[in-house]
């Protein structure tokens, strides 16, 4: 005997209306999203000869040595090491700069906090192209051009306004009692900041650092403009130069591309939720 449908079941049934077509369309969209990545995996395992006779299909024999060849000829080891330095310095620096600024804006006495928020919003919406050319000449004069620190400094500047606004919203939600208690015990502001405030906004720091770090890993325009020395290049630019040759070996480029993609993909799949929410709020703030 059919029971009276409950509210939840009725909702579920309504949700399932027209299900086969919905799933068909979803599968088509997913194939569009993932197809090129599958092609890249296949190509990375093919010899150049096989790639020209069988460009899109499964590789007949997995040519694993593409990865070792690509690793060496695209300078992936140097590139990944440089990217690791640039990404971690960017993430840590953005967290410290923005954490301190958010703390000052929420808990300390700063002149015109509203004007500072406004300034941050304006600064995040300025196009990089507006300040690129004078910045390059300035960096050359200061000796920061073609140094990793020079690039990291730029990343700090462009990624910290958003992180500040994010951390500010975290800090507002936390009652000031812990800090006040520490101050009563005679702790100075630096101690309060490092021992109390930073641990309290840890989830926000993780999101802000993750977003800034991954943006720095994928960033192209500034990296290609401000770094020349092949020993200092991040992996993105190493891969860019590798695919610029007159005759491109697509199999090796695909292998190198996969090497660059894997660390990113691993981080994304592990921290999917934090990542998506963090990126979503970046999109909204930019």
């Amino acid at each position: 005997m059919p029971a009276r449908p409950t509210r939840a079941r009725r909702a579920a049934r309504l949700l399932d209306r027209g299900r086969p077509l919905t799933y068909l369309l979803l599968v088509i969209l997913a194939a569009y999203a993932l197809g090129p990545i599958v092609v890249m995996v296949f190509s990375a395992l093919k010899t150049p000869a096989e790639l020209s006779t069988n460009p899109m299909g499964l590789p007949a024999d997995a040519a694993w040595d593409n990865f070792t060849t690509a690793w060496q000829s695209a300078n992936m080891a140097t590139g990944l090491a440089n990217s690791a330095v640039i990404v971690s310095c960017t993430a840590v620096g953005v967290c410290l700069i923005s954490g301190a600024a958010a703390y000052a804006m929420v808990r300390l006495d700063v002149p015109a906090p509203g004007a500072i928020t406004m300034y941050l919003l304006v600064v995040t919406s300025l196009p990089i192209q507006l300040f690129l050319v004078p910045l390059l000449s300035w960096w050359t004069r200061l000796g920061l051009y073609d140094t990793q620190f020079g690039l990291i400094l730029i990343y700090w500047a462009i990624y910290s306004p958003f992180a500040t606004l994010l951390l500010r919203s975290y800090l507002i939600a936390i009652p000031p009692d812990y800090e006040a208690a520490a101050r009563m015990d005679g702790a100075g502001e630096l101690t309060v900041f490092f021992r109390i405030v930073l641990p309290l906004i840890w989830p926000g720091l993780l999101t802000a650092g993750l977003v800034a770090g991954l943006q720095a890993y994928n960033e192209f325009l500034l990296a290609v403009t401000f770094l020349q020395d092949s020993e200092a290049l991040p992996v993105s630019i190493a891969l860019y130069s590798f695919q610029q040759g007159f005759t491109v070996n697509h199999a090796l480029v695909a292998a190198a591309g996969l090497i660059m993609l894997l660390p990113m993909l691993a981080v994304f799949l592990v921290m999917q939720r934090r990542f998506v929410s963090g990126y979503a709020s970046t999109g909204m703030a930019n």
């Binding site: 027209g18 300390l108 600064v123 507006l130 300035w138 695919q243």
Partner: protein, 312 residues
């Protein structure tokens, strides 16, 4: 009654800890904590941005001392066919990104909002291209669109006519569309996620009311879903316009504005003018034009919002 509170309460209750520290000393501390942010921002962004505005009125070459030339750079841009062409490409790009990725993003989010099983997996699948670095996406699509190891010859081997030797990125008629399509691949999944978040916050009782009125699925989408996500939709329209006038990465990596200028954008024009031709004054003027386009778009949005009393 209030008199009694001051009597005993004040003595027993410990003084409430101050929420903020105040006074001149405190203000100095606040500024010190704010200083790193303000210093790097002024050094990297605000300072050079203002310099750019100043340089746009000079004949600066990027190295030597510039001379004031009035509005000559802007006048040169007005009469420059390359500038017109780049601006036109940015407009085409804007129209493409206001329609194709928006439509795909809405479709993907709407479909996802209708299913339970597998939703997370599909969501991750749609979002993955956004995580792929631009240089990597460019590399894989360069292969897929290449005439010697791409999808064209693969289809031709199945008997599909015409596509066998098409070089989409090397053909002036096709290159801009090809790059837009590649950028769309990376972009639309991000829109799915933002639209899905918005759709999930639409009041479910509105859908039930629509169903009681016998609305079909399309009318339900048109009259309930779209109005329900209007703030996100409007915001992304605005952002799409702004981003479309700044686009650089895919164009520079794939074609550098070629072949024959057929994919040149304001950003690649600026880059070439500044760094290959050493006409940094003109490049600064292009940068100012780009900033003005962003500013006008934002201003238009704010005016519209006030006129129509949108709550965003």
């Amino acid at each position: 009654m209030s008199v009694a509170v001051t009597g005993t309460g004040g003595a027993v209750r410990p003084p409430r800890p101050p929420a903020r520290r105040r006074g001149p000393n405190r203000r100095l501390t606040g500024l010190l904590f704010l200083a790193p942010l303000l210093i790097v921002n002024v050094l990297v962004i605000a300072g050079p941005a203002m310099m750019s505005v100043a340089y746009s009125f000079t004949d600066w070459d990027g190295i030597n001392t510039p001379d004031f030339v009035g509005t000559a750079n802007y006048e040169a841009l007005v009469g420059d066919p390359a500038f017109h062409r780049a601006l036109g490409h940015n407009l085409v790009w804007t129209l493409f990104f206001l329609t194709v990725p928006m439509g795909m993003g809405l479709l993907g989010a709407y479909l996802l909002s209708r299913v339970r099983r597998g939703r997370t997996l599909f969501r991750i699948a749609f979002f993955i291209p956004y995580v792929v670095a631009t240089v990597v996406s460019a590399a894989v699509w360069r292969q897929i669109l290449s005439p010697d190891a791409g999808i064209g010859p693969a289809l031709a081997s199945f008997g599909v006519p015409w596509v066998g030797d098409v070089n989409a990125l090397g053909d002036p008629d096709l290159a801009l569309g090809a790059i837009a399509m590649i950028n769309n691949w990376q972009w639309w999944g991000f829109l799915v996620m933002l639209f899905l978040t918005a759709m999930q916050s639409v009041n479910p009782s509105l859908y039930e009311a629509a169903r009681l009125d016998g609305a079909g699925r399309f009318r339900e989408f048109w009259h309930v879903t779209l109005p329900g996500i209007r703030p996100t939709l409007v915001f992304l329209f605005l952002m799409t316009i702004i981003w479309s006038f700044l686009v650089f990465d895919f164009v520079y990596i794939l074609t550098q504005g070629g072949p024959a200028g057929s994919t040149d954008m304001l950003s690649t024009l600026l880059y070439r003018t500044a760094f290959s031709e050493s006409r940094a004054g003109v490049a600064s003027a292009v940068g100012v034009v780009m900033a003005v386009i962003s500013a006008v778009t934002i201003a238009g949005y704010l005016v519209l919002r006030r006129r129509l009393r949108w709550e965003v």
